[in-house]
């Protein structure tokens, strides 16, 4: 049986890992290469690198780091941030990424999903979605959660999967950084809408939050978090052991 995945997310800016709380107020944590090696050694099932650099210099630095990570650790790597074209897919795949996550780039040009899926396969295209409750609707946000697109997030996800997105990362802005648990209501709506793997993101504060996630929503495939792993509040080996003891299929 396929295991549930635990995925640490590393936001990288100018070659360093950072993590914001509610996407604001970034603080420096660690070296991406060291952190990636650490997580791989302690049983992370996959890593997500999110490039939040704006400058061309920072971007070149990011691909150097990615190359170094992909030469030293051998688990699936997903890369996102600044992916606006098929050429951007090519750039990070050549550095050893296995999957590429699109967000604002796909909102600007929805045809990007289909074009990338056609060239690299559905399994390579991850649609990352920042969503927040607005007027009783799950609203799609762009630009790292700063801009309300006015679009319905569930409808957007449905369209993305129809175009070829092979996996969904749902970041709930409402629960992100608050550490009170994943956004089960929003995740449930996404799981009901599509039949590709769904990765829960935003809100994990404890091991119990992962237990609740996988028990309440068996269709969720993976839990993603950043700061609780980076700051050692939850250790991945402990988390996976406790989830396995609780009857959830894990890779130990």
């Amino acid at each position: 049986m396929i295991t549930k995945r635990i995925i640490p997310c590393l936001d990288v800016k100018d070659g360093r890992v950072v993590k914001g709380v509610n996407f604001l107020g970034l603080s420096d944590v660690s070296s991406p290469v060291k952190l990636a090696k650490f997580y791989s050694d302690c049983g992370a099932d996959e890593l997500v690198f999110y490039d939040i650099t704006a400058s061309a210099e920072g971007r070149a630095l990011f691909t150097d780091i990615l190359t170094e990570v992909a030469s030293t650790i051998f688990i699936p790597l997903t890369v996102g941030g600044g992916i606006n074209s098929v050429e951007d897919f090519d750039r990070v795949l050549k550095c050893g990424a296995d999957k590429v996550s699109v967000n604002s780039g796909a909102i600007r040009d929805p045809s990007l999903i289909a074009r990338a899926a056609q060239k690299y396969g559905d399994q390579c295209v991850v649609l990352s979605v920042d969503a927040k409750r607005v007027d009783g609707q799950f609203r799609l946000f762009a630009k790292g959660g700063r801009e309300d697109t006015g679009l319905d997030a569930i409808e957007w996800i449905r369209r993305g999967v129809a175009s070829g997105a092979g996996e969904i990362v749902l970041n709930s802005i409402d629960t992100d950084g608050v550490k009170q648990g994943f956004d089960l209501e929003m995740l449930s709506a996404v799981c009901d809408a599509v039949d590709v793997p769904v990765i829960a993101s935003g809100g994990a504060g404890s091991i119990d939050h992962f237990k609740t996630l996988f028990h309440t929503l068996p269709k969720v495939d993976a839990g993603l978090a950043a700061s609780i792993f980076h700051f050692g509040e939850v250790s991945i080996p402990d988390l996976k052991k406790q989830l396995a003891a609780d009857g959830i299929t894990m890779r130990l």
């Binding site: 396929i2 099932d45 992909a70 030469s71 051998f74 396969g121 399994q123």
Partner: protein
Amino acid sequence: MVAIVDYGVGNLFSLRSSLAAVGTETVVTGDKDLIRQADKVILPGVGAFADAAALLRDTGLGQLVCDLAAEGKPLLGICLGMQLLFEESLEYGRHPGLGLIPGTVAPIRDVIPPSYKVPHIGWNALHFPKNKPVHPLFRHIQEGDCVYFVHSFYGANCEDSVIATAEYGPELTAAVARGNVMGVQFHPEKSGPVGLAILRAFCEEKEAETC
């Protein structure tokens, strides 16, 4: 030295890096002489079966791989590279493969429960057939160790060659072997220490005598 056959599909960066990590000298090449000189050969592959099979045919590399396999050179197909070893594939039509492993590549959708997602993507545990000794490729790992899969088609009608399966509804073919010809459906280069241990087993000198 191990040659990774480069016939123009997929990204071989991780595979090359993972072989370097287990201390194997590798060459990524489409040059027939270099491939002939190698002690062992890896046939990688991602993407569509028909495109890859056409490239192998047009470059002559498919014939070379068959010749080397007949000479007894250890050969490992990975993911689509494993599927290409089969007689034929039913992926979008009917396409001939290299015919080194008897069997057919068929859609997993036909055999898995409707609620299961396609592709079969993620970490899954390896099971070894009870009626056979554990294959030397797995001598450094254990029954139940997890490896990383990404595939929508699987090796069918190949019971005699199956050396490992993974449960996804039914037990799906995870690895096959027939003498010196081996194939794995999963990605050892993305399967952490377990994957590296499998690659190490293939690359070790000892392997040629025991497989």
